[in-house]
Amino acid sequence: MTAPGPDPRVVLTLRRRHAGGAPLFCVHPGSGFGLPYLALLPHLDQDVPVVALQARGLVSPDQAPTSLEEMTGDYLAQILRIQPTGPYRLLGWCIGGRVAFEIACRLRAAGAPVGSLTLLSVLPPDGQPPPDAETVLRDMLRSPDLDQHDAKLEALCRFPLDFPALNDHLRRTGHPMHRLNEMSLMRIYRNHHISDRLSRTPLTRTFDGDLLFVAPDRPGAAEFSAGSWRPYVSGRIDFRRVPGGHAEMMGPTAAQAIGSLVNDALHR
């Protein structure tokens, strides 16, 4: 009997062809999907395999984790199946960064080397209570190109949901989620909700390695600073800004800049 392979409900391998080095493990953002990290592939060295960790709740809503510890334990187990020994390379965007940080700390606590940790556009939890369900839905569906208040969307993000009317609005504002049917939209929304809650778990661990901390350069991203993660990282912190807003980190411009920074970090 061979050891179990990685669980395809959680592990989405983005690149393996011609890639022989240690993989870069990328933890999903709030949506739960690992697919956005495809945007990094053209900008990362060819020999680096890229493995995305996706939220278990996307495929199996009844198996969604109820604590950050459970979520990171699940992903850690998948990582160890793929790569039994270090050094490990980790990256996370948004709440995926909070999870990647936790995985890095747990690997270090187990004595495993962590070769690189990259956090994209994520801050340590600020102690604020989680937003209510309708706010989470509204934040998820706000058009990425539209910074101003969208009263119509606000009215449509009320439970019980009028899905056809909401879908029609998303279509008109050009939101990428207009293509989703109700079941998919609700699963993604639930992942956002769970991720948002779990990512607020207070930090109790400290990472003793080096951190690459990448922030968006948009106005409104002023809260990101070189010192943001300082209380939780005892190694060096390389703080960089890349063009774009928080939601655009896997857009072509930011992805290119991030790919180049990650390459440097992997070779250090």
Partner: protein
């Protein structure tokens, strides 16, 4: 598992795609243009794993394009005995 021909793979794969995007595809059809999204892609990877017993990466499944033809060709290639030995 008995060896599957490319035609066997094509038939089974067309059913999998139809179940996800609602259309039986032809070779030139692009997964995303047919209406597939992130969720459907996750389901596609899982269905391939389950039906054919191969866990492919995205870049192995869709080498040059996201078309049905590429998908069939690459799964058939992964099922060749030599490819199995390399995994």
């Amino acid at each position: 598992m008995p060896r599957l021909s490319t035609d066997d793979v094509r038939t089974a794969m067309a059913d999998i795609w139809a179940g996800l995007v609602g259309h039986h595809p032809v070779d030139d059809n692009d997964f995303f243009e047919l209406g597939g999204g992130s969720m459907e892609l996750v389901m596609l990877m899982m269905a391939i794993d389950e039906r054919f017993g191969v866990a492919l990466s995205i870049d192995e499944l869709f080498v040059d394009t996201f078309t049905f033809g590429d998908c069939v060709r690459n799964v058939a290639r992964a099922l060749e005995p030599a490819a199995g030995a390399a995994r």
